[in-house]
Every structure is written in structure tokens, then in C-alpha cells.
């Protein structure tokens, strides 16, 4: 590793003037149930490494960020992967900003799912919650005025979603074969997608309005015979127009949240939303702890035909923030399908150890998932995960 950093330092005036930070993390996952496919593993160990290089010059008006990501997994070859999360040049002016390179963008306000967050592709092999994203090539122009922030994006080059391999858990049956991915656009993964977003804060309200025109980050998965005569799922990426709204009202200890979108493709028009609240009890029982109660409802007008898991589902969760020296946190909750017997249970906890270490754990359980549910194929994949990260 050191040699690699040294090699970067050979690039004159760039690599050695700035600073390195990042983490290395060990992870263990144990799956409590027998897999649907005997090829799949029952437990896995893996290592992740995410260094970040940052350098600013020109009185901080210009900066450069490089953040690669590497994961090695003991069982799943598809989960052993590398990505450039960020490789970005940023130039800041008075009330404007230009970014060029590979970047990561987040849109949205809700917790149970990130509906309107459309710029970056999901790095699904990382975690089934979909919160880990692949770096997206982008050119971004941003204006910050009294009337709000206007972001304009040109997104050259499409990233395909990562899917667990044959040995991996938390995958579909049959598995997805990324070699068979196809596109509606004739330009395939070379198409330049476009997006714009206006966001503003008005008193207690934070609002975002966005439009995206390009290749849908969520593929349709179609059964097909591959060259080895196996049935696999082939991703098909459609072109969509998507208009979205994200809205939060911050009223005392209440946060009211809404994300909604309307998207159109040649095949269908879709209306979908997620909305709810988070209420925080501050200083629980005269302690320093805060307890947040979260409830969100998720809707997709396609109902049971929706290719996504949450089409008429309710999330109820608790967030415990200890406010202690170790920044101990716990988020736990359930998502209940209102149309079927299916439950999803989720727990995430983390705590700093000393100055530079952080321990975290996750539990995810899928309970009583019927066969016609998109989550059925991972419903045998209940797992417990432990992570220990060293930051530098």
C-alpha cells in the first residue's frame, strides 16, 4: 500500500502537498439460515479500504479530491471489487461552483428509502440497503443565489449496478449476469444523462425540485439463457424522464419529510412517494440521550406489479443517540408490507473505540415473505454483521 501512495507522490506538486485520510475496515457476516442455493456461503469475511486524498490551492478556490475504494471478500468474487468513488476537481467562485470528474451526490430527506436520489448508481454488493453508491462521471455547474441553489449536471457515462455473484448471499435466484446488460439508448453506457435541481431553505422549510433525463439507475431484470445454458437475469436499462420533489419541515422537535417522484418511460408512467416524520425526545429520562421515533409510509402506484420491494409499506423505527464521548448510536426498526405478511427487521449500531477505531454492527431479518414478493429470494438471507474500522 505504501508503495502505491509513494507512486502517487511522484506526480509532481499534486500528491504530496495535500493530505491523506480514510479508513481500513474488517467485516464479518454470518447468515443464520440455510441458503436457497447450496453454492452460496453461510459466512464471509471481508476487508475494505477507502483512502482519500485532498489538496486545495488558489486560496482554497480550487481543490482536488481522489477517493478510491477497494473491497476484498473471502467468498463472493463479485463483492471483491474496486471503484473510484471520487476523482474530482472543484473550482469555486462567488456564488458559483464547477465540478468535473467522478463524484457523488445525495438528494433527499427520508430515512427508510432514498427515493429521489438518482445521480449515483447503487453499489448493491456492499449492502442490501442500497446506501453505498458508485462514483459517477459528471460535470456540475452550481449557482447559489438568494433564490436558492441551482445545480446543473451533465453525466457522461453510465455505471451498471453491482450484483452479488453466484457464491454470494443477498442475491436473486436466478442470479443477475451483468455481462448480459442491455440498454434502451443506442449509445448504451456511453450516453450523456442530464439533470437539474433547485433547492432552497425558506424558514422552517427545506425544498428541492429536480428533473432527470437519462438511463434509469434501476434496471429491469429479465430471465434469459446465458452462453453456459443457465437461466440468469439480464439487466435492462430504460430511458426515463423523472421529476421529483423533496421536502422537509423542521418544526421544533418534529421533522416532517416527503419525497415524491413522477417518472415516465416508453413502457409506463410511475408515481411514487415516501413520507413521514421523526420526533425526538431530548434528554431522555434526565440523561444526555436522545430518542427519535420515526415513521414513514412508502407508496408506488404499480402496487404488486412494482419491481421494487416497497410499494405499500410502513416503516417504524427508533433512533437512540447517546451523545457520549464514543458517539454511540443505535437505529432499529421494522418495515411492514401492508398487503402481505412480510416484515423486514433492521438494526444498525455503532460506537467509537479510543480515538481512531470504530465498531459497528448490523442485523437484518426478512420475516414471512411470500413467494411473489421481490424480497422473497433474499428472505433466507437473515444476517448479522460486525465491522471494525481503523481511521487514519
Amino acid at each position: 500500500m505504501k508503495h502505491w501512495i509513494k507512486a502517487l507522490c511522484l506526480i509532481p506538486s499534486l500528491a504530496c502537498a495535500g493530505e491523506w485520510a480514510g479508513y481500513i475496515e474488517g467485516q464479518g457476516r454470518y447468515f443464520t439460515q440455510e441458503a436457497l442455493d447450496p453454492a452460496q456461503t453461510d459466512s464471509t469475511l471481508s476487508l475494505a479500504f477507502e483512502p482519500e486524498y485532498y489538496h486545495a490551492w488558489d486560496d482554497d478556490r480550487q481543490s482536488f479530491i481522489f477517493r478510491p475504494f477497494l473491497r476484498w471478500d473471502s467468498q463472493d468474487n463479485s463483492r471483491t471489487h474496486a471503484d473510484i468513488r471520487e476523482l474530482l476537481w472543484i473550482h469555486v467562485g462567488d456564488e458559483w461552483e464547477v465540478q468535473a470528474g467522478i463524484g457523488k451526490v445525495f438528494w433527499g430527506v427520508t430515512e427508510a428509502r432514498h427515493l429521489v436520489d438518482v445521480i449515483n448508481q447503487t453499489d448493491l454488493v456492499e449492502n442490501p440497503d442500497g446506501e453505498q453508491k458508485l462514483g459517477q462521471p459528471m460535470f456540475k455547474l452550481s449557482f447559489e443565489k438568494t433564490w436558492g441553489v441551482l445545480d446543473l449536471y451533465a453525466l457522461p457515462g453510465f455505471r451498471e449496478r453491482t450484483f452479488p455473484g453466484e457464491e454470494g448471499r443477498l442475491r436473486s435466484h436466478p442470479r443477475v449476469d451483468n455481462d448480459l446488460a442491455s440498454y434502451e439508448s443506442g449509445a448504451g453506457n456511453k450516453r450523456v444523462d442530464l439533470a437539474l435541481r433547485w433547492s432552497h431553505s425558506l424558514g422552517d422549510w427545506d425544498i428541492g425540485l429536480a428533473h432527470f433525463y437519462g438511463t434509469n439507475r434501476n434496471p429491469l431484470l429479465q430471465p434469459i439463457l446465458n452462453s453456459a445454458n443457465e437461466i440468469v437475469l439480464a439487466p435492462y436499462y430504460e430511458l426515463i424522464h423523472q421529476t421529483s420533489l423533496d421536502l422537509q419541515a423542521t418544526k421544533g422537535d418534529w421533522l416532517w419529510k416527503l419525497e415524491a417522484l413522477y417518472s415516465t418511460s416508453d413502457r409506463e408512467d410511475v408515481f411514487s412517494y415516501t413520507g413521514g416524520f421523526e420526533y425526538t425526545f431530548i434528554g431522555l429520562g434526565d440523561s444526555d440521550m436522545d430518542l427519535g421515533v420515526l415513521t414513514e409510509y412508502m407508496y408506488d402506484e404499480r402496487g404488486d406489479n412494482a419491481p421494487i420491494a416497497f410499494e405499500n409499506d410502513t416503516f417504524i423505527g427508533l433512533r437512540l443517540t447517546a451523545n457520549d464521548e464514543q458517539s454511540s448510536e443505535l437505529l432499529t426498526g421494522v418495515i411492514k408490507d401492508m398487503d402481505s405478511s412480510a416484515w423486514l427487521y433492521n438494526l444498525e449500531a455503532s460506537r467509537r473505540i479510543g480515538d481512531a477505531w470504530k465498531a459497528s454492527a448490523q442485523i437484518r431479518l426478512w420475516i414471512d415473505v411470500p413467494e411473489d414478493d421481490p424480497l422473497y429470494t433474499i428472505s433466507q438471507d437473515d444476517y448479522i454483521e460486525f465491522n471494525l474500522a481503523r481511521y487514519f
Binding site: S63, V92, F106, V109, S199, G252, T280, I282, S327, R352
Partner: protein, 259 residues
């Protein structure tokens, strides 16, 4: 004799307050504190917190702060966290207000997410320290009501002692005793009383330095929690005033760029 009496009477007048109530006197003191600290425009500084628990175990926090004075309202501040390393790049943007809750946004670098947070939570520990957010946020006249108590000496300095009472019902305090330096109108010590009116913490301001020949800033703020035995020493360094910061340095894009 008559003349002497007149002199004695005149010199007594300020003390008897010319019929000023203790509340009016308290407000006069804090207005003078505020008047002397107005006009700095903006500053940058680094903050180091040394947290110590009752067993003597220590941990460190490093932050950088940028602040902008806003006319007729509270300051805008951007705090960027450097250590512990797992929170490096996390940043907190606050628009404080003279009345009502402050507006706050937290930037989480791992998700690149800007979150508007409920700023009514001002009484909880800031970064696990003995400082609450309300101990660190911009001190506006309107955030308290006041009452002058007495003149006395503190560490051989003449001080004005006053009480102040938070206006915001979400404050973690019912009462604060403030020792104000009579010559420079800067706070030297604050005793903070909790919701049960018991003494919770004492804050001491040390090593004051003067910037731009006018503005006094304490280089050290020591907060002792009397109920838990924990303490936090906050050290301020590298103060730079009038650095050219503008309102556009305190927007959402600045928050996302913060490093």
C-alpha cells in the same frame, strides 16, 4: 460642608442607580458587553477540546470554525470537524437568531448528505463534551433576561455579578450567574444551574487576548461539571478577524465543500 455633601451625593447617584431596577441594570451591563463586541464582521479560529472523565481518562476533539456577524440577527457559523478521525469532514452550519430557534444543517461526508436538524436540541452535549450547543452559540442580548446582583472582586479584578435567565424554554438551564469584568465588559466566569435549579457546571474564561485593538477573546474556556466530575478544556487558537468571509461562504455548497 454643603459642597462636600453635594460631592458625596453625586458620587452615590450611580450606585443607587438613579432609580434603575436591578433588571434594568443587568440589561445595561449586557448591552455594553454587546456594544463592545459588535463590528468584528467575521473571524476564523481553530478549537481543541480536551475531554476528561472522572477517572482522568482523556480524549481530544479538533474543529475549525468560521463565523460571520449578521446585522440585526445572530451570527452565521460553520464548524468543521477534524478529529476524531471517523467524523472528519462532518460540518455543522448554524444561523443563529436573536429570537426563536436557530437554523442548523449537518453535513455527513460518508453519504454526502446535508441534513436539516432540529435545533431545539440545544441543551445536549456538543461532541460528547461538557459544552452544550447553547454554551457555544452566538450570545445575543435577546436570548436572556437579566438581573444585576452586586459588585465584587474576582481574582483581584473588579467585576459586576449578574444573573441571567434563558428565554427559550428548551434551554437546559434555569439560571446563570455571570461575572463580568468591569473594565473590559467581558465574561470571566459563568455558573450554570440545571432545570432542577441545582448547580450543574462552572465555565471559566482564561487567557484573554485582544484582536484588532478592540475585540477580546478567551484562549481557554474551562467547563467543569459538578454533578458528573467530568470536565472539558476548550482551547481557541489561530484567531483571524476580517478574513473576507461573506454570506456566500455560509451556504449549503460551502457546507458540502467543507474539509
Amino acid at each position: 460642608m454643603k459642597r462636600l455633601l453635594l460631592i458625596v451625593l453625586c458620587s452615590l447617584l450611580p450606585l443607587t442607580g438613579n432609580a434603575m431596577t436591578p433588571e434594568e441594570q443587568g440589561l445595561e451591563i449586557v448591552r455594553e458587553v454587546d456594544r463592545r463586541d459588535t463590528g468584528f464582521h467575521d473571524f476564523k479560529a481553530t478549537m481543541t477540546m480536551l475531554l476528561r472523565n472522572k477517572h482522568g481518562e482523556e480524549s481530544l476533539r479538533h474543529m475549525r470554525t468560521n463565523a460571520l456577524e449578521v446585522e440585526n440577527d445572530g451570527d452565521k457559523t460553520l464548524i468543521i470537524f477534524d478529529r476524531p478521525r471517523d467524523v472528519k469532514g462532518t460540518a455543522l452550519l448554524s444561523y443563529s437568531h436573536k429570537t426563536g430557534s436557530d437554523d442548523q444543517w449537518l453535513y455527513l461526508p460518508a453519504l454526502k448528505r446535508v441534513k436539516r436538524i432540529a435545533s431545539r436540541n440545544k441543551s445536549g452535549p456538543f461532541m460528547g463534551s461538557e459544552f452544550a450547543y447553547e454554551d457555544l452559540s452566538s450570545q445575543e442580548v435577546e436570548k436572556y433576561t437579566y438581573k444585576y446582583i452586586r459588585d465584587e472582586q474576582l481574582n483581584s479584578k473588579d467585576v459586576l455579578v449578574q444573573e441571567r435567565y434563558p428565554v427559550d424554554p428548551n434551554s437546559g438551564y434555569t439560571r446563570q450567574m455571570v461575572w463580568v469584568d468591569k473594565a473590559e465588559y467581558i465574561p470571566l466566569k459563568i455558573e450554570l444551574y440545571d432545570r432542577k435549579k441545582a448547580l450543574l457546571k462552572t465555565l471559566e474564561f482564561k487567557s484573554y487576548k485582544q484582536y484588532l485593538d478592540r475585540y477580546w477573546r478567551a484562549s481557554e474556556m474551562f467547563m467543569q461539571n459538578h454533578q458528573t466530575g467530568k470536565s472539558t478544556l476548550l482551547t481557541w487558537e489561530d484567531y483571524k478577524f476580517r478574513t473576507g468571509l461573506k454570506s456566500s461562504n455560509f451556504g449549503k455548497n460551502s457546507l458540502k465543500r467543507a474539509r
